[in-house]
């Protein structure tokens, strides 16, 4: 393999093979999963902040009765953008960011299976977000709520471009989500390190595996719903027009067929992160690993059978509502399995209360509260009482903030050292946690009681004397304390990037493979391909001294950009995959999609057609084979 008399060290040879080209070209052409993962994380946090600013506007408007900050129309637009931004452009992409960054490291690979598709999923994510926020620049923000019920979204009730931005923007984002899911699944099927059998994968990987299947099965429902909406508005079709044989409920069925699985898409990987991080801080393996893995998968499957519980108040026959009510209750079983596994791990371990563990503990508390407020609304009778009130707002924020944001913060504190080589500051971390945890409780718990007191959701103001003022003030104060917590996090990131303590390869003494490589990892991740022998490669000495050990000194695979290909179930090596080099095609493809979307929203068909021709040309260019360099190592 080596030529000449002075062989280049393996590490340097691999770095030359795998590193991204320097300069502007590299910025747009990189296919490194770590760069893409970081971009995903940063971009989705930017969307979190945008959604947070929108939330702050809403809370000031509702702080007391009769506020005049936002007009009723503007209030509608802001709460719609808040929901869209948080649910679609923050909650799922941030988890994709963690998956993109961590998967190859956890699974012992040098990249994702489809690195160019990976770049494409990021660029389409970014550009769909730019597309959505173009509506703000034009003063045409979507304003019918994030679930956009027909017929309010029709051209008669919502003239202008607002709901066109909604429909096209969501389909555009769907491209990103779908490409990402395909990439995750192929990565699982083909590129785990030898020996990384299914039962040795971290639970986080199980979570994203489940959600990737859910994405492939559910996203088309949203695409169909949005296509119907766009055609109704712009091409005169009658899908949602009851007068012409259409139905407004068709939208609800399609939207929630997608929407409920989506809830699990934005929580299952987050639950997985918690399942992987609790063992590290409890100094013992997760209790009931197979049960937690199976609970993850079964939650994902059951999530497809409960969409009608969003529609109990639409006059659906009792037979249907009873069935979907029962199905919704069943989901508590796998959720409870996970919760008890976490509690048992803590009970039998020796918890070390560092910041990631604090967030994990907070996560469990909020998960249980959000779970209880969820299962009660799964009952039809209770749902009829609280539907469209602040009780539902409370529930969905407990679920989305509790299970997503708290887990994401735990994940940031846990894996930031791996990504940057520096620890986040512990003291600031504690301030960060307590501000967020207390702010959340103060801000969001009263929403339950406000809902029970009859306050409807989506009202831009309310009359004095209804008894809602002081609770609303609490909600506003609490959410600002919560926002301070997020600010503390940002300060911590900026501070620790410069001043943070050096992390080293494994600062937490954690058991999984990503901690076997330097922090931050080199472009090729693993100098030698690991051959995995257990679920806890770095704890084997302590857990089972006599069992066969994981080899961290496997083959070098240094003849090209190579990573091992393995079988889907047992991860036996059966090939060497030669991975693609830097390329501009993914960026170009995303750009042509952006052009098509602008053409469609503006009704400029020539522009959309030009974009489509560009798209076809780009795809041909993408798949046109590149002659492999004989060996990049020699140059």
């Amino acid at each position: 393999m080596t030529t000449g008399t002075t062989p280049v060290p393996l590490d340097e040879r691999l770095t030359r093979l795998w590193r991204t080209a320097p300069g502007v070209y590299g910025v747009f052409a990189t296919v490194d999963h770590k760069v893409i993962g970081r971009r995903y994380l940063v971009t989705s946090v930017v969307f979190l902040l945008l959604g947070g600013i929108e939330a702050a506007l809403l809370r000031v408007q509702l702080a007391t009765s009769g506020m005049r900050l936002l007009s009723p129309a503007m209030y509608d637009a802001v709460f719609t953008m808040h929901g869209l931004t948080m649910i679609f452009w923050y909650a799922a992409p941030v988890l994709s960011g963690f998956s993109n960054y961590l998967w190859p490291l956890m699974l012992g690979a040098r990249d994702m299976a489809c690195p160019r598709a990976n770049a494409l999923s990021y660029w389409t994510f970014l550009m769909s977000g730019i597309f959505l926020y173009t509506s703000v620049l034009l003063g045409q923000m979507p304003d019918a709520g994030w679930f956009a019920y027909a017929p309010l979204t029709g051209i008669a009730y919502s003239p202008g471009l607002r709901m066109d931005f909604y429909a096209i923007g969501l389909v555009f984002l769907g491209v990103s989500t779908t490409v990402g899911a395909v990439n995750f699944l192929v990565t699982i099927f083909r590129t785990r390190a030898p020996g990384m059998s299914l039962d040795r994968m971290p639970i986080f990987v199980w979570g994203t595996l489940t959600t990737s299947f859910a994405v492939l099965a559910a996203t088309p429902a949203l695409t169909v719903a949005c296509a119907f909406l766009y055609l109704d508005r712009r091409a005169g079709t009658r899908f949602y027009d009851a007068a012409a044989g259409g139905s407004a409920l068709l939208w609800q069925h399609l939207f929630w067929s997608f929407g409920h699985p989506w809830v699990y898409i934005v929580v299952l990987p987050a639950m997985g992160m918690i399942s992987d991080l609790i063992p590290t801080f409890c100094r013992r393996p997760l209790v009931g690993y197979p049960f937690v893995a199976l609970a993850t998968v079964s939650t994902g499957i059951l999530g497809f059978g409960v969409w009608v519980h969003h529609m109990f108040a639409t006059g659906i026959p009792p037979v249907a509502t009873s069935f979907f009510s029962a199905a919704s209750m069943v989901i508590t079983i796998p959720s409870a399995v996970a919760v008890f596994a976490w509690l048992a791990t803590m009970w039998h371990g020796r918890p070390v209360l560092r910041t990631p563990m604090l967030f994990a503990a907070g996560f469990i508390v909020l998960f249980v509260i959000g779970g209880v407020s969820g299962v009660v609304t799964g009952s039809v009778a209770y749902d009829w009482q609280v539907t469209d009130t602040y009780f539902v707002v409370a529930h969905l924020h407990y679920v989305l903030i509790g299970i997503n944001v708290f887990a994401v913060l735990a994940g940031f504190y846990y894996w930031f050292p791996k990504m940057t080589g520096r620890m986040l500051d512990e003291r600031l971390g504690r301030v960060n946690f307590w501000l967020m945890f207390i702010g959340f409780g103060v801000g969001f718990f009263p929403m339950h009681t406000l809902g029970l007191a009859g306050m409807p959701r989506r009202i831009y103001s309310y009359h004095p004397g209804l008894g809602w003022e002081w609770q609303n003030l609490w909600v506003t104060i609490g959410s600002f304390v919560f926002a301070l917590g997020i600010a503390a996090f940002l300060v911590n990131v900026v501070y620790s990037l410069r001043r943070g303590a050096e992390a080293g390869a494994n600062p937490w003494d954690a058991p999984t493979l990503e901690w076997a490589v330097p922090s931050p990892p080199p472009p090729h991740n693993f100098e030698r391909i690991p051959i995995v022998a257990s679920r806890h490669p770095l704890w084997e000495e302590r857990l089972s001294p006599d069992a066969p050990r994981t080899q961290l000194e496997g083959p070098a695979l240094d003849a090209g950009r190579d990573t091992p290909g393995t079988t889907a179930l047992d991860a036996e090596a059966d090939e060497v995959l030669r991975m693609p080099e830097d390329t501009l095609w993914p960026f170009a493809l995303a750009l042509t999609l952006l052009v098509i979307c602008y053409g469609l929203v503006a009704g400029r068909w020539w522009l959309a057609a030009a974009g489509a021709i560009g798209l076809a040309a780009t795809i041909v260019g993408w798949f046109w084979p590149v002659r492999h360099q004989p060996s990049g190592a020699a140059t």
């Binding site: 299976a113 489809c114 598709a117 779908t178 899911a181 395909v182 990439n183 699944l185 192929v186 099927f189 083909r190 590129t191 030898p194 020996g195 994405v215 492939l216 099965a217 559910a218 996203t219 088309p220 429902a221 695409t223 169909v224 296509a227 119907f228 055609l231 109704d232 091409a235 005169g236 079709t237 009658r238 899908f239 012409a244 044989g245 259409g246 139905s247 068709l250 069925h253 399609l254 067929s257 391909i529 051959i531 496997g554 083959p555 695979l557 003849a559 090209g560 190579d562 091992p564 290909g565 036996e572 090596a573 059966d574 090939e575 060497v576 995959l577 030669r578 076809a616 798949f623 046109w624």
Partner: protein, 198 residues
């Protein structure tokens, strides 16, 4: 695991079921299939709610659609034959197979256009019309994409990119083409046959 000691006994950059591209195509087809499932759900849901006749103008005529279906199914046969020939290294026959598939697929689109022109309703007439044109239209778009793929594969074959062993793009395009044909069988059954039976 002993093979890993000398990894180059393993095939490098292999094709077919070992390739990430093959798996990716399977998954893309899976999500595309779900897309048609939801479209047909929309059709059956509005059918179940319909107060009057469904379809409002009576069942669609089969005079063009039935022969057209035969045409498309035949194209699945020719693409199967083409793929078999490439695995035997017969590039010439393979390219003929692709060409015939392309002609059959293009004729399918032409005949469908003819049928569109003869319909007594438009996408704006009623929800049934919207569904009919949207579902068949999305299917036609998939056929058009398939035709484009066939062109590209034809072009790449002219450049000598494929041989008996290395022809992943052919395998993927063939798989996609079979999928588009299979979807048509379901669409044809739901939109054309069922109303005529009822």
């Amino acid at each position: 695991m002993s093979t890993m000691a000398d990894p180059y006994r393993l095939p490098v950059d292999p094709v077919g079921r070992f390739s990430p591209g093959w798996w990716a195509m399977v998954l893309v087809i899976a999500t595309e299939a779900m897309f048609f499932v939801y479209l047909l759900f929309g059709y059956l849901y509005l059918d179940s709610l319909a107060r009057g006749a469904w379809p409002p103008e009576g069942p669609p005529r089969l005079t063009l659609a039935a022969p057209n279906t035969v045409l498309l199914l035949a194209s699945s046969g020719t693409t199967w034959w083409a793929e078999r020939e490439i695995t035997r290294g017969a590039i010439g026959r393979f390219r003929i197979g692709l060409l015939v598939t392309f002609i059959l697929g293009a004729s399918f689109l032409g005949i469908q256009g003819l049928e569109y022109a003869r319909e007594r309703f438009t996408p704006s007439s009623h929800a049934y019309g919207s569904l009919f044109f949207t579902i068949t239209g999305f299917h036609a778009a998939h056929v058009a994409v398939g035709l484009l793929m066939l062109l590209v594969v034809q072009l790449r074959a002219a450049f000598g990119h494929f041989d008996a062993r290395r022809h992943l793009a052919v395998a993927n395009v063939t798989m996609y083409w079979h999928f588009v044909d299979a979807v048509w069988v379901v669409v044809f059954t739901t939109l054309y046959l069922l109303p005529n039976l009822g």
